[in-house]
Amino acid sequence: MPLLLAILVTALLALVSLFVGVSDVSLPALLAGTAEPRAVEVFIVSRVPRTLALVLAGASMAIGGLVMQMVVRNRFVEPSTTGTSESAALGFLTVTLLAPGWPLMAKMAVSALFALGGTALFLRILKAVPLRDVLLVPLVGIMLGGVIGALTAFIAYRVNLMASLLAWNMGDFSGVIRGRYELLWIGLVCCVLAYVAADRFTVAGMGKDFTTNLGLNYKRVMTLGLVIVSLVSAVVLVSVGSIPFLGLIVPNIVSLMVGDNMRRTVPWVTVGGAAMVLACDIVGRLIRFPYEIPIAVVMGVVGAAVFLYLLLRTPRHAA
């Protein structure tokens, strides 16, 4: 079964990720129990959390993209086109200004709340907009994101925090250690949620009338999807920063391979997202060892190439 093979490859990448780093940690020594205490500690405090963070962030961002594309019925939208990432950044900026000494977890929580608020505002605006044209959804989101982003940039500029704002928008796993990634588990919850509701999203992906004829509440499915999307992107943004292209290319590649039935695509997208992020981060860690290249940069290069390929290869599905 090809899915099993994909899982195996991802597991292999995760294993490699566990043993790539500045400190000397070796698999045989760990297994034999002869590793130095410090190596064991580095493994537990730094390597395992980082690998988990990569898997969680990759899987949930890809799922976020998939759900977004099903709900919006547009292959070329991204989870960040709902004003959510911008709201998360605004939240992070606010908490950095008002309570710079707070632990990261608290900052994350505040930021996630802002992101949810931003998404709620987005849903509110959507209600007022006739949804006949699917392109209107990402357009509204992009415009809302633009407004919130401008507000955020204005505040950041006034208080000399432009550097921080840039860093939040630049995904990077180098700062991940135990205690600094746990919010990403929420992403896993979102993945499970997406799998449970997969059939509904598949139906919703066929249009409002079709969905209603089958007795489903179209709006409710849509809202659930957007909540998943916003939660995922908020959590990833505040934990490691935004990762470009991921939510876009992974679902598209999977769709080319196995079609659009979400019950079938969710496992593929989850695994594919994790593998993609793991591979990009390993590359980013190795290119300039011992210094690191942010994953957003690696992902931007790889993602842009794949995206171009997708654009040129397939006929446009978008309106």
Binding site: V22, S23, V42, W102, V159, N160, A163
Partner: protein, 305 residues
């Protein structure tokens, strides 16, 4: 004989008289990284596009008429004249405002160095950019240049002597204190400032050995590193530039970030040898005289415990 003598005397008098008329005779040629600039007299109306140069001018006691409109470092706040005109951000000068100001001289540096090409046709422009590889020499050279421009050479020399004295003091304090690493913290991520960075003087002038001696040390300026990296490099002293502390206070986010299981095992953390540097002096006006003096004081205080 007497006719020749009289002619010579007359000539001598003429030459003497000419050299006493300052407005026209004292054209000064100032060499800058972007070519020589001729200044006709001691400038009175001064515009500055860079906080480090403002810092220098303020240290010299020169009145400044125009300042950047953003990123004013807190340590300079009470030196900025309330009625100063704002001439655009550090990167984007407001050329119309600059032209309208009809100033005698306009200083650019580092971030605004690119403005030179445009502004040189509007107002006599001097580029005071400093090369990061030797910041102290660059700062001192700028002070000498400013002393020349504003006829305050003695004052500049005195200030430079003070800087040298302070540096010698810090250097003595740093003797035998082990290795150092300058960290920049930004949004929960770590970067390393090496011997070519904005605070390179900690390594190059104060003489603290870089903790990166064992690591291939490229041209990095804030390269991302992991906590694991810190654990392995294990510096004796850590100097922290907290880029999240945009309001100018070391507001504690860097401390919260560094308080973790891995960093706490380094010598610097165990011995409490962590010095938080003024974030604005170290990354906005890192080439300013007062900024460098302030940072030297902070390093000195840290080293002396």
């Amino acid at each position: 004989m007497s006719a020749l003598f009289r002619t010579t005397a007359l000539l001598a008098t003429l030459v003497g008289a000419l050299s006493l008329t300052p407005a026209f005779a004292q054209d000064k040629v100032i060499s800058t990284p972007q070519g020589d600039v001729t200044i006709a007299r001691v400038p009175e109306k001064v515009l500055v596009q860079d906080w480090a140069v403002f810092d220098d001018l303020s240290a010299m006691g020169v009145a400044v008429a125009g300042v950047p409109s953003s990123n004013a470092p807190t340590y300079l706040a009470d030196q900025i004249p309330a009625d100063a005109i704002q001439i655009g951000s550090l990167f984007e000068p407001d050329f119309e405002g600059i032209a309208a100001a009809e100033a005698d001289v306009y200083f650019v540096a580092a971030r605004s160095a690119a403005a030179f090409e445009t502004s040189k046709d509007i107002v006599p422009t001097i580029d005071l950019s400093v090369d990061n590889t030797d910041i102290v020499a660059g700062v001192k050279a700028n002070m000498v240049k400013l002393g020349d421009i504003f006829d305050m050479a003695d004052h500049a020399t005195a200030l430079n002597d003070e800087l040298d004295a302070k540096l010698a003091e810090v250097k003595a304090a740093a003797e035998g204190k082990g290795t150092a690493l300058v960290l920049v913290t930004n949004a929960g991520k770590l970067g390393v400032y090496g011997p070519d960075s904005r605070v390179s003087w900690i390594y190059n002038n104060v003489g603290m050995a870089s903790a990166l001696a064992d690591v291939a040390d490229g041209d990095h300026g804030g390269d991302a590193v992991s906590f694991e990296f810190l654990l392995e490099v294990n510096p004796d002293w850590v100097f922290v530039v907290d880029r999240d502390a945009g309001t100018g206070e070391n507001a504690g986010s860097a401390e919260a970030l560094l308080d973790n299981e891995l960093f706490n095992q380094t010598t610097a953390a165990k011995e409490g040898q962590i010095v938080y540097l003024d974030p604005q002096a170290s990354y906005i006006s890192m080439h300013g005289y007062q900024g460098v003096m302030l940072l030297l004081d902070q390093v000195l205080e840290g080293l002396n415990g």
